[in-house]
């Protein structure tokens, strides 16, 4: 979304997060004009921010072009998405592909490629369909293992030194 020149960064961040969230909540809650509604929160937009919101035209105002609401997916969302296919991004790092996908998507993140034991656990997790709890449990387990792996990796010389000292001590006692 391009931003008008007269809007400050702070106004943009407030309006594009708070208002769409409330808009979608009202829409998904089937709140119609005139309905009584109760809302809680501490954010109170200034008058000029409210004015900016009212003169902003939501891209999905017409239900026929509203791909952002899952409940509309059955009716017309597929028809609304008519973009040319994307070029395929080259995979320069290992990318985990969920069993639900079955192929490399055109675009993917490359920030933190899977590695080590946590990578194996995550790989196993993505072999389980996403509607199964086991998938998410394995991914969470992989996260915790990842944390310990990274701690050991950062202190690898300390760990290796302690292990070597332990072996020496054990040998001396055995002798």
């Amino acid at each position: 979304m391009k931003i008008p020149d007269d809007m400050s960064d702070e106004d943009v961040l407030l309006l594009t997060d708070v208002f769409p969230t409330g808009y979608q909540a009202a829409e998904m809650g089937s709140i119609a004009e005139g309905d009584p509604a109760f809302g809680g929160g501490v954010i109170r937009p200034r008058k000029e921010q409210r004015s900016m919101a009212t003169r902003t035209e939501p891209a999905d105002r017409r239900p026929s072009s509203r791909p952002g609401v899952p409940m509309y997916g059955r009716a017309g969302a597929r028809a609304a998405i008519t973009r040319p296919p994307l070029d395929q991004q080259r995979a320069e790092v290992p990318v985990l592909i969920g069993v639900d996908v079955g192929r490399l998507t055109p675009v993917f993140g490359t920030m933190q490629p899977p590695r080590g034991l946590s990578g194996l656990i995550r790989r196993a997790g993505y072999r389980i369909p996403e509607h199964k709890a086991g998938r998410w449990m394995l991914l969470l387990l992989g996260d915790r293992v990842d944390v310990w792996e990274s701690r050991l990796r950062r202190r690898r010389w300390l760990v290796l030194g302690a292990a070597a000292a332990g072996v020496l001590l054990w040998r001396r006692r055995a002798a």
Binding site: M1, L13, Y72, G73, L86, D100, R103, E130, W136
Partner: protein, 116 residues
């Protein structure tokens, strides 16, 4: 560049990371001018979102100025101020089902936000 890195539940640190680069013809490189913390970032910070990898940089509520564009980008120009939105995705391909169901905000097929 200096960026926030996730080290584990409730642990983050500012670390040096490689400069971001274009990886796809549709990629856009932004210089972030203002960022906010979303409730989703707090869930990530607490380690409650599955597959949050150590070293990840959080943040998806931000405004920036376009510095570099991929050759396939037609709707933006250098110097534009777009307001992106999307999940930060790690090296994982997101199911196409989220696209076909219209949930583009959950899909890495069409867009991704990478803090590297």
């Amino acid at each position: 560049m200096l960026a926030m890195a996730y080290l584990g539940p409730s642990r983050v640190k500012a670390v040096k990371k490689p400069e971001p680069r274009l990886e796809h013809p549709n990629d856009v490189l932004l210089r972030v001018t203002r960022a906010a913390i979303c409730g989703s970032d707090v869930h990530l910070y607490h380690g409650l979102i599955p597959d949050t990898r150590v070293g990840s940089t959080f943040g998806h509520e931000f405004v920036g100025v376009v510095e570099e564009l991929g050759p396939s980008v037609e709707t933006l120009a250098r110097g534009d101020r777009p307001r992106p939105s999307g999940p930060a995705s790690s090296a994982t391909a997101t199911p196409p089902a989220v696209t076909t169901a219209g949930r583009r905000n959950s899909c890495a097929c069409r867009s991704r936000t990478s803090g590297r």
